[in-house]
Amino acid sequence: MTQQHAKTDIGPPDYRTLLPPIIKENYGRWAYHEEPRPGVLRHVSETGAELHSVRIASPRLVSIDFIRDICDIADSYCGGYLRFTSRNNVEFLVSDKAQVEPLKAELEKRGMVIGGTGKGLSNIVHTQGWVHCHSAATDASGLVKVIMDELVPYFSEKRLPGKVRIALACCLNMCGAVHCSDIALVGVHRKPPVIDNERVSKICEVPTLIASCPTAAIRPNPKEKSVTINEERCMYCGNCFTVCPALPIANAEFDGVAVFVGGKVSNARIPPMFSRLAIPFLPNNPPRWPETVAAIKNIVEVYASKAREGERVGEWIERIGWERFFRLTGIPFTDKHIDDFTHAVTTFRNTTQFKW
């Protein structure tokens, strides 16, 4: 019998009740770790205890059958203890070393992909896309699938000069906050919203709507109790659609994907950096987005062949210069690449130092 009224504000379950005994015993006492192979971490405690974490890829969008599968696996090999990583991988937390190889064999038998650690590619963090969001300019899960199908060796075996973190947001709202990734894919619109005057007057608050526009492109249209949009000023961010559903911006013909590169969040070596525009537009070409897959593969492969050991994508590009990045990758530089938004001038080159 389920209660009629839920207890509110109890918060999440206490993590202490969900930790395996080896973690409770060695909490805060880990001394070092090693990566015997991609996807396997061996953490050694000051007490000498060893924890083996085996990491597998997850599509993130999973059925409860998948969750029950990984529960079965965890019950068989690691006392039912598992966790998820900040990039949506699954980790089995194994305290009995003898279980590591049988676990790996079981995972491989089930077609699960072990990897995602160290200097290689981890899972692509992503948003809902066409699967479950109203503002998506592209799909998320599908793009992740086709890109990782192509790049999976860098997840599971092949190493790269540094870690490569790819992220995907299916619109400019970026609920995935992809803006500091080695490679970021962003769903973009290229046409202003379509104004449904009748619905604007009924369901939207016009002053809020006008205030929502970062470029002041939206003006009142008192005659219709609606608004007008100055098309020359609109940069298709979709913020107005977020506050007013009567301004749909999705467009089958013109929506697509932009690619940004060179961001990072880690403070290692150089400070965190934003990703910068590499490719302004690639078409939505489902189900396998061949242009986008080829573009990402090209960037990863040029980086893999040219960067020095230990360099992230952004560090490599900053060392060689963006002009060299565009030449090496064969990506055309266009007017779109020169910033004209709020902090534009800070991105202009204030020096005579550049390469040909």
Binding site: C133, D149, G263
Partner: protein, 409 residues
Amino acid sequence: MSKDESETPLLDELEKGPWPSFVKEMKRAAAKKPAARDALRQLERSYREKVVHWKHGGIVGVRGYGGGVIGRYSDDPEQFPEIRDFHTIRVNQPAGWFYTSKALRKICDIWEEYGTSNLTNFHGSTGDAILLGTVTPNLQPTFNALSEAGFDLGGSGSALRTPSCCVGPARCEWSCIDTLDICNDLTQTFQNEIHRPMWPYKFKIKVSGCANDCVASIARSDFPIIGTWRDSIRINQDEVRSYVKGGFDIQRLVVDKCPTDALTWNQQKQELELEAEECVRCMHCINEMPKALRPGVDRGATIMIGGKAPILKSAYLSWVLIPFIKMEPPYTEIKDILARLWDWWDENARTRERIGELIDRQGMGNFLKAVGLPPVPQMVMRPRANPYFFWPELSGNGAGEAQKGEVTP
């Protein structure tokens, strides 16, 4: 349509290939739940037409809360009746995303009973476990069952969003703070702020144990808490030598990459020398030689402020607010600071203005005065280059008293 003909020829292409397939997962769900089948069929239509088919918004919820549930409706309910309403429930994840199979099975059982799709995200962007798709009448029963099982909903809308943290001291030798306890404590303390949206916009807290920042707190949260130390990196010279003996190029891979030239490899003594006061604790050398180098022991956190994605006035990376603070339970000082800056933000922000944007608009100096924090050089990469600054303390009759108030140029 003949029996052999697929309803989803485009999506079927995504069952192929080595990477785990979300389409397979949707089909597993569809085998048991008609709504998952309609979701799949509608997605196929999006793949065919290259456009989204979910309607915008719709306010739904559970008793006592203003968030935690996101309304979602198909834009063609006649074609896809099972997903006429297909709402999302955000379930606050346990700190560090640690689970037992028992806890996960409990969520699955509840979702099998009250969800219409059997679909989930482990996890959503902010960190919650996401239950993907149920009808309006099932929302309250789902919440009742979750609550009975010891789970609660996460944040949505203009609220404190579900805090998240890295794996921390549970499994990482680099964590300088107890990320899980901090995350859990703040989450429990601010249940009201999470569940009842009352602010100008969203506010995110993320906790990373070290400057590697595995939860991307600098980029993805308004209030990053990042573990650090004030004393010196600990060096085990025997382990350093064994890295070098093993062929590790310490000069090229560690010393040359130190951003402040604080490290020297003394070939003669076979020792790694550190000028500790030059070290900016970037983690590079520690990352490369985890057996030999460890963070110091005088540990605490750097508190930052203002990070966000581009909507609306472009993206911000968080910047330093408090260079160093000890992090001991019950974290009273952190909670006091949060209360002060929420007050100021709530009072001054426009609708949908994040705290970083407000600070940018009103000036960091005003913000610091309002929340009572001292300006320190660690807050800036470099001081201003323009001569346009204010002397509010000289206004009035030269009384010399600091004046609050807006001094926007």
